[in-house]
Amino acid sequence: MSILVIAEHDNDTLKSATLNTVTAAAAIGGDVAVLVAGSDCQAVAQEAAKISGVSQVIVADNVAYANQLAENMQPLIVELAAGKTHILAPATTSGKNIMPGVAALLDVAQISEVTKIESADVFERPIYAGNALAKVQSLDSVKVLTVRTTAFEEAALEGSAAVEAHGAAHDAGKSSYIGEEVVESERPELTAAKVIISGGRGMGNGENFSILEAVADKLGAAVGASRAAVDAGFVSNDMQVGQTGKIVAPELYIAVGISGAIQHLAGMKDSKVIVAINKDDEAPIFSVADYGLVADLFEAVPEFESNL
């Protein structure tokens, strides 16, 4: 087995999603190489070299890869696929953007959002918003997988892999990066947070999210949201948890003013402990909550915060 993992990073630091993906790769067994494609990304390569279980880091350092545009990344990955049995990337928006095209260029399938490695060619993945689990056998010579990061632990940083430069630059010239509106936050990232407090339509407006933030400050938590809260403009899209938003599995998930639609549950029902605060005692969120509190959130949440 010879496995290539595509690292996720911002040219300065390695994203932890890469560590979960390496753990999935290690479960397949065999040689694991990590590709760091970026611009001025040597620091990331050094970080990647420390991931336990990685034997080689390939750095493609070129402006063409600065923003990891799919059209430029794909020919690079296809080139490096020679001799590989598996190519893995985290199922983040970046991995989801790049990998299907890699699979298509290799004329193989992509197996999306893998949650379990059964063997080198059998994988488990959720379908229908997590209401069913499919066990899929790959018949392809190269397996292209995206990995659901919450299903795999982060690999440790105790290794020392060899770092090797890869010179080829591919600039397809079809797309260019214009800019980004990144929400700056001191809080942990949703997908890596140990505690998450999320608000739904019941929050009423964006300002009211401040009562969740006060709790988050005390618990070191990330703040999430339902689709309804994002659609209503209360908060930004990067906070959406669910089937089509972020998939999270913290130690503690607190759902506030969220009814518990299947699309929301799909994104959080693997959390270890779930708390729901909702004034409707019939809300479906209570069917997955370990601790349910039927109450008006505007009274319950500030009181909860002052009790912490």
Partner: protein, 250 residues
């Protein structure tokens, strides 16, 4: 400029799916089917491009059994000009769908192809990206805004960190995210009119694609059910449980 928009027939998003007892798949008998919600957004965007005078024609495509003509009729009722049904008896893998769509693209030469970002049955999120790689057209995935100016398109994308804007050389492939637009409903007169709009059927053979099997579905099982816990009486009890029973807060 022509717009090609893809439409997949899937289980209605409100239906709670049930896994078949023989673990061969999900029970679709007598289940309400509908247009994939992300495809509704794709159709809406296509129609808006036509209403804005940017697109001249909207063509809807679906790959599947005869029943998917129902969703194509819906697209026509919403404002698509004509439809193409690519007949396929069994559910095809995304790569095979993308290969069929690539042939339609080759024949139709659209300026933009709009797909949903994800089908809510397989949750694959890959067909659009595969189509982009196969056709060599640039991709703007998970779009929350699409702006077309002459031979360029500005696409704002919903990414993990927030919003990213990229510029693409036309023609392009776009996949829709939830915030791109709010789809309209079809009016009764338009539903009637849609019955007379052209709907053409093509076979896989006619398109010259060899369907290859890349994966085998071994089993489909229900996920572990999460047991409902308890209701606490008040905030004090909640804090106590979290501290002393679940031990998730200090």
């Amino acid at each position: 400029m022509k717009v090609l928009v893809t439409v997949k027939r899937v289980i209605d998003y409100n239906v709670k799916v049930r896994v078949k007892s023989d673990n061969s798949g999900v029970d679709l008998n007598n289940v309400k089917m509908a247009m994939n919600p992300f495809c509704e957004i794709a159709v809406e965007e296509a129609i808006r491009l036509k209403e804005a005078g940017i697109a001249t024609e909207v063509v809807a495509v679906s790959v599947g059994e005869k029943s998917c003509q129902e969703q194509l009729r819906t697209a026509l009722a919403l404002g698509a000009d004509r439809a193409i049904h690519v007949e396929a008896e069994q559910e095809l893998e995304s790569l095979n769908v993308a290969k069929l769509l690539a042939k339609v693209v080759e024949a139709e030469q659209p300026g933009i192809v709009i797909l949903g970002k994800q089908a809510i049955d397989t949750d694959n999120n890959q067909t659009g990206q595969m189509l982009s790689a196969l056709t060599g057209m640039a991709q703007g995935t998970f779009a929350s805004n699409i702006e077309i100016k002459d031979d360029k398109a500005l696409v704002t994308r919903e990414v993990d960190g927030g919003l990213q804007t990229i510029e693409l050389a036309m023609p392009i492939i776009a996949t829709t995210d939830l915030r791109l637009n709010e789809p309209r409903y079809a009016s009764l007169p338009n539903i009637m009119k849609a019955k007379r709009k052209p709907l053409e059927t093509k076979t896989v053979e006619e398109l010259g694609v060899t369907i290859k099997e890349h994966t085998k579905l071994l089993s489909v099982t229900p996920p572990e059910e999460r047991q409902a816990g308890i209701k606490v009486a008040d905030v004090a009890e909640l804090v106590d449980k979290l501290k002393n029973e679940a031990k998730v807060i200090g």
